[in-house]
Symmetry: C2
């Protein structure tokens, strides 16, 4: 059954999950396909799955009405070349011309975008950022990703590497980072950093941030320790966000990811730091909030990009 | 004698100097007027001087050909209201409707802009940034100002307070700042910070940064101490610029101001920190350079803004 109105196909290629959706101009999901990212069978199998999903959606909703295809991926994107560099989650795709390969197989232009950038655009289009033109999103996960929207568009920088907010220095002599730096935000405020602090405080091995949160909700010494973890994490977040407020003076800063349920434990420290460190924050109506689209944000953002390019 | 081509009038209103220039579309200075900012006689006297200068230039080069007037001022600008807030150098102008007042007296729209933003635009138009669309400028003076150009335009933020780069936190428990924060970049890397470190190391009272530089060029214990001041300053700058590279992935970061002659003393520490703290810097051709227009940058940038608004 062919749709009579324009739609776009968004793909979110993660290290674990592969999702694709046909979405119309109002953000209505016409159809969503979700599966596993088949990394064990290799890169070609994953690309085959992506293309098969897109074709299935296109066949269902019409070739003529398809505005375009957007694909969100983890890692840096070399914009001009259209490939991923330095992705820990998709090493097989490193420097592979993913955009052009998919595009060739479909006979249709494809937009490749970093997943945090796509998520920021998704929040801008349909989520917490619907009423603003500028926002900054931090995705708290294994690492910390960043997406910056300026005047309604993703800030890419000149080779596409802007928004690496997880590698902002928050503590000059802090924890060492794989990037070569010390004190990167993601080494003090990501889900992984929470797990590492839990281990340092002998709360357990390989805990998820939500499990540390559960311990913090209990009583006694362990709960007190777990609370201090979120205070430390909130402090690091606050230093980074204070800087971002001073730099961008955006009306909205968003957080998403696994540690969000612990908001009430980390947010007080975060707000305290931002208040202290940003005159701009204290003198303007800057909001720091939870993102609202959860892990759908990247999928929506990927779908929106072809609409934006087409001038819709 | 009337010019036959469009020109613009830029004004740079500082705490000490008041300058105005008529500049054509190619950046040629048709005429420049320079004088003292007459703060002792009060705000109205200063505004009278500004308007008199603009009228003199307009009478000389023609009313019809005047594209517009841009005025650069220190301090935050409330963009919508068109006035200055929180300027240490021009307290009498705080919350005074400067833009509309000048505009009314001239019968012509006026663009009010922060001086560091204007300087960044000047460098983009005619200085070190002529070949790029994105750049970040740090002006090292009493404090540290910042100007950010994205896609050829000043990044303002939603009330006009973007680019407060002097108040980025570089050392979370560093020197206290008048803004309420501790460890602000400008408390560790401005000309004032250099003078404060010189005092702490008993090199002298109220030294200018260039005098500390002269001591560093000498020999013996005092020279060694003075060198360490610039290393400390370069380290703080490098932490901040590393963050800015990670955030913006701009091709060009510029420094201007009094401490620039000491470049060879502070730049090695600065580059070392940026290298360490930015994967993006190590993997792209990011340039960190001296600005080239000196203290004319703000005047040129102020003159450029009406051209940009007119679509030239």
């Amino acid at each position: 059954m062919a749709s009579m109105q324009p739609y776009s196909i968004g793909v979110d290629l993660g290290g674990t999950n592969l999702r694709a959706a046909a979405i119309d101009l109002e953000g209505k999901v016409l159809c969503k396909l979700a599966g596993h990212t088949n990394l064990r069978e290799g890169r070609d199998a994953v690309i085959h799955d992506i293309v098969t999903n897109i074709r299935a959606l296109r066949d269902q909703f019409g070739q003529a009405e398809l505005t375009g295809v957007g694909v969100a991926v983890p890692g840096f994107i070399e914009l001009e070349k259209g490939y991923i560099v330095g992705s820990n989650n998709l090493p097989q795709f490193d420097e592979f011309p993913l955009r052009d390969d998919i595009s060739q197989k479909l006979g249709k232009p494809v937009i490749l975008e970093n997943d945090a950038n796509a998520a920021a655009m998704g929040e801008k289009w349909l989520g917490a950022g619907r009423d603003v033109r500028d926002l900054v999103l931090l995705t708290l996960g294994t690492g910390i990703g960043g997406g910056i929207i300026v005047n309604g568009r993703i800030l890419h920088g000149y080779v596409g590497m802007a928004g690496e907010l997880g590698h902002m220095t928050v503590i000059p002599d802090g924890n060492p980072c794989g990037c070569g730096n010390a004190g990167c935000l993601e080494k003090h405020a990501s889900a992984t950093a929470i797990a590492a602090m839990a281990r340092l405080l002998q709360l357990g091995e390989n805990l998820k941030s939500v499990e540390v949160f559960e311990i913090a909700q209990g009583e006694g010494e362990n709960a007190a320790r777990a609370k201090r973890i979120f205070e430390s994490m909130g402090t690091a977040l606050g230093i980074a966000i204070g800087n971002l407020v001073n730099i961008f003076n955006a009306p909205l800063y968003l957080l998403s990811g696994g540690p969000l349920p612990a908001w009430d434990l980390f947010a007080p420290a975060m707000f305290r730091e931002v208040e202290k460190r940003s005159f701009t924050y204290r003198n303007s109506k800057t909001r720091i909030e939870k993102a609202t689209l959860g892990n759908e944000a990247g999928l929506f953002g990927a779908a929106y990009l072809p609409f934006q390019e087409a001038g819709h």
